[in-house]
């Protein structure tokens, strides 16, 4: 089954065209890595998929499980099963993680025609999810991402991923800024969530995380275009030869 079908997607921010015709098809259960140098448009692609209002889609189409994704509000995309783990998760002082996650969880449940859960039942649900990221319950009484370390923020994204059980998860540089232990926990969490019905787009600058989360396909983004696709061997080749290699190959200025 096709999970996501992106055809010739173009997007701008202000006057600048950032995505210059991206096509990508992802089937259920697949993991696609999107690699590329800084500024190549990886985060823009991730944010456009999630519906960030700062970007304007100027061309192309995105079909998510048979529906026109670009026609949906950000919350509708989430309710339809799309999840974005932010490169820079947002701090919300004044709202506990428990409150925020339960609000999100209940919205997603409502969308699936399931009953909302009260705070007590939610604690039971959480217990299993916290295990996935090897966390205790203390984190839930802190304000959302407020004063979290970089690693804690990324872990919190994966906790939300575990909780919301999306069909397609986009991880935007979830590995950046993590030490090796945190990387192992975060990648381990993602691996536990892999299933035949769930697809992933793993955005990363480095090959490192792909040693843990082994992708089915690897795409290289440069200058707002996918300039090369291959299997996991491509990630190793990039590591060895650097991004200048693909950029030179395709005439994209570094």
């Amino acid at each position: 089954m096709t999970m996501l079908d992106i055809q010739d997607l173009r997007a701008t921010a202000g006057d600048a065209e950032i995505l210059k015709g991206i096509s990508l098809t992802i089937n259920a259960g697949e993991v696609h890595a999107v690699m590329g140098p800084n500024g190549s448009g990886k985060s823009t692609l991730a944010q456009v998929l999630a519906g960030h209002p700062s970007y304007t889609v100027t061309g192309g189409s995105v079909t998510f499980m048979g529906n026109d994704l670009l026609d949906m509000e950000p919350e509708e995309r989430a309710r339809a099963g799309l999840f974005l783990a932010f490169q820079y998760p947002v701090e919300i002082p004044g709202v506990t993680n428990a409150y925020f996650l339960r609000a999100a969880y209940n919205e997603i449940r409502k969308a699936r025609g399931e009953e909302e859960v009260d705070p007590m039942d939610f604690l039971d649900v959480l217990e299993a999810k916290l295990k996935i990221v090897e966390w205790g319950p203390e984190i839930m009484s802190r304000a959302v991402n407020a004063g979290f370390s970089g690693g804690e923020k990324k872990r919190n994204e994966i906790l939300q991923l575990a909780l919301l059980e999306p069909r397609l998860a986009v991880l935007d540089e979830t590995d950046s800024g993590l030490d090796i232990d945190a990387l192992r926990i975060v990648a381990g969490g993602v691996n536990k969530l892999r299933s035949t019905g769930r697809s992933f787009i793993v955005v990363t600058h480095y090959q490192r995380m792909l040693n843990y989360i082994v992708p089915d396909h690897v795409h290289v983004l440069a200058g707002g275009r996918i300039v090369k696709s291959g299997d996991k061997a491509l990630a190793h080749e990039l590591e060895a030869r650097g991004y200048e290699w693909v950029e030179a190959l395709h005439g994209v200025p570094a």
Binding site: E75, A104, E107
Partner: protein, 434 residues
């Protein structure tokens, strides 16, 4: 003498007979008010505060027979546990019937100030009118000359008033066009501990009246006081208040001042740190809508070394409403090692709301840590998107973030039932925020 001035003098109610020492104080205050009248926007301290209309109204004396208020009607304003000490004043008149005062620690006193005045005694002589300067403004002078009643809380040395005291001042339609002058006195003696809440509420939301209030607070050495103020007056009312706090060595005073009501609401909060090692925490939250103006003026007097003051005021404004924040911190030359931090943050939910914010630090000591910051901003688009990307709808995400902005400061309240009530009030208001 102008017509306005005559009207102002007529606004002076007949003060209850009191002890002999009070008479000259009241007379001097009355004379002062007759000379100065109400402040105007030409006075620097009132520059951003549209007090003009107050002087143009022929205010009536406060009703001697208060309007109807019963327990059922008041239930909406009570919170916490039933065993709390709850004093109720209807249109400024103490209601024995609606008041609940349980057994008190030895020597403690919780009740009506008027009753205590009639009894006499040293307690009032030592404190009443001794803290708040009569000349703080024309309003204070008028209050000193005219106050009719108010709450009295006295906690003797070493005592822990383990039940909070809730002073509820409720207005009814009988208060229409009346000026109410009330004075509260809170005295927490050496090593004592208390939690006091003042609520200003109304059963007549469309009624115009003037509530002119003074609360005097004495926080003795080593004592601890949490003091919450919930202002939910009629949105046509004028609410002008001064809270003056005198703190002594090793004492801890924390205040939370919430403003929701009033056409014009002004709260002056002055804390004087009279000795070393004092801690003063001032928190505030104002939510304005329509054409409301909420004005918070605070002044912290660091007169001695090694004291700490921490202040956070936040505002949420919509429609054409206005807010004023002025935070003064005075650090005397001898107040070395002062640690003072002041923050004022405002969230504008409409293009037509407006804030005038002014931190005012006057520091004459050199070995101090003093910072201040003020912000005026809108809801964070990135945070909104983050919440929406988790499935939370646009409107719910907006409310969540506004609530979060308020909750961050409400979280500083120590007493949980108060925290929950403040939360509830914010959520209730957000239900209607545009």
């Amino acid at each position: 003498m102008s017509a306005t001035r005559v009207q102002q003098r007529d606004a002076i109610p007949l003060a209850p007979s009191g002890p002999g020492w009070l008479e000259p104080v009241r007379r001097a205050a009355g004379a002062l008010f007759a000379r100065t009248g109400f402040p105007t926007q030409r006075d620097e301290e009132w520059r951003f505060t549209p007090v003009g209309p107050i002087a143009t109204v022929a205010w009536q004396r406060s009703p001697t027979t208060p309007g109807a208020a019963d327990r059922t009607a008041l239930a909406a304003f009570r919170f916490g546990q039933p065993e709390w000490f709850t004093l109720v004043f209807v249109d400024g008149v103490f209601s024995e019937e609606l008041t609940t005062i349980g057994p008190l620690p030895r020597g403690a006193r919780v009740g009506s100030l008027r009753a205590a005045l009639e009894e006499g005694g040293d307690l009032l002589r030592d404190h009443l009118t001794r803290h708040a300067p009569t000349d703080a403004s024309g309003f204070t002078a008028l209050n000193t000359a005219s106050f009719t009643d108010g709450g009295l809380v006295y906690v003797p040395a070493g005592a822990d008033l383990d039940r909070p005291v809730h002073l509820i001042f409720v207005t009814t339609s009988a208060a229409a066009d009346a000026a109410l002058h009330l004075r509260n006195l809170l005295v927490v003696e050496r090593g004592a501990r208390a939690n006091v809440i003042e609520s200003y509420v109304t059963l007549a939301p469309g009624t115009r009246y003037l509530a002119n209030l003074v609360t005097e607070v004495s926080v003795a050495a080593g004592s601890w006081l949490e003091h919450t103020r919930i202002q939910r007056e009629s949105e046509r009312a004028y609410h002008i208040a001064l809270t003056h706090v005198d703190q002594h060595r090793d004492s801890h005073y924390r205040s939370f001042s919430m403003a929701l009501g009033g056409a014009l609401a002004r709260h002056n909060l002055h804390a004087r740190l009279n000795d070393e090692n004092v801690e003063t925490l001032l928190y505030g939250l104002y939510l304005t809508r329509g054409e409301q103006t909420a004005d918070s003026h605070t002044a912290i007097y660091h007169d001695h070394p090694n004291c700490r003051s921490w202040e956070v005021y936040k505002g949420i404004l919509t429609d054409r409403s206005r807010a004023v924040f002025n935070g003064k911190v005075f650090v005397k030359p001898e107040a070395q090692k002062t640690d003072a931090k002041q923050t004022n943050r405002n969230l504008l939910l409409s293009d037509t709301a407006k804030v005038d914010t002014k931190p005012q630090l006057e520091i004459f000591a050199d070995d101090v840590k003093c910072t201040h910051g003020a912000t005026v901003g809108r809801l964070d688009d990135v945070a909104l998107f983050y919440a929406r990307s988790r499935g939370i709808g646009a409107e719910a995400a907006r409310r969540l973030l506004i609530y979060a902005f308020a909750a961050e400061v409400i979280d500083e309240v120590a007493l949980e039932p108060v925290r929950l009530e403040l939360d509830r009030l914010v959520l209730e208001r957000l239900g209607t925020v545009g």
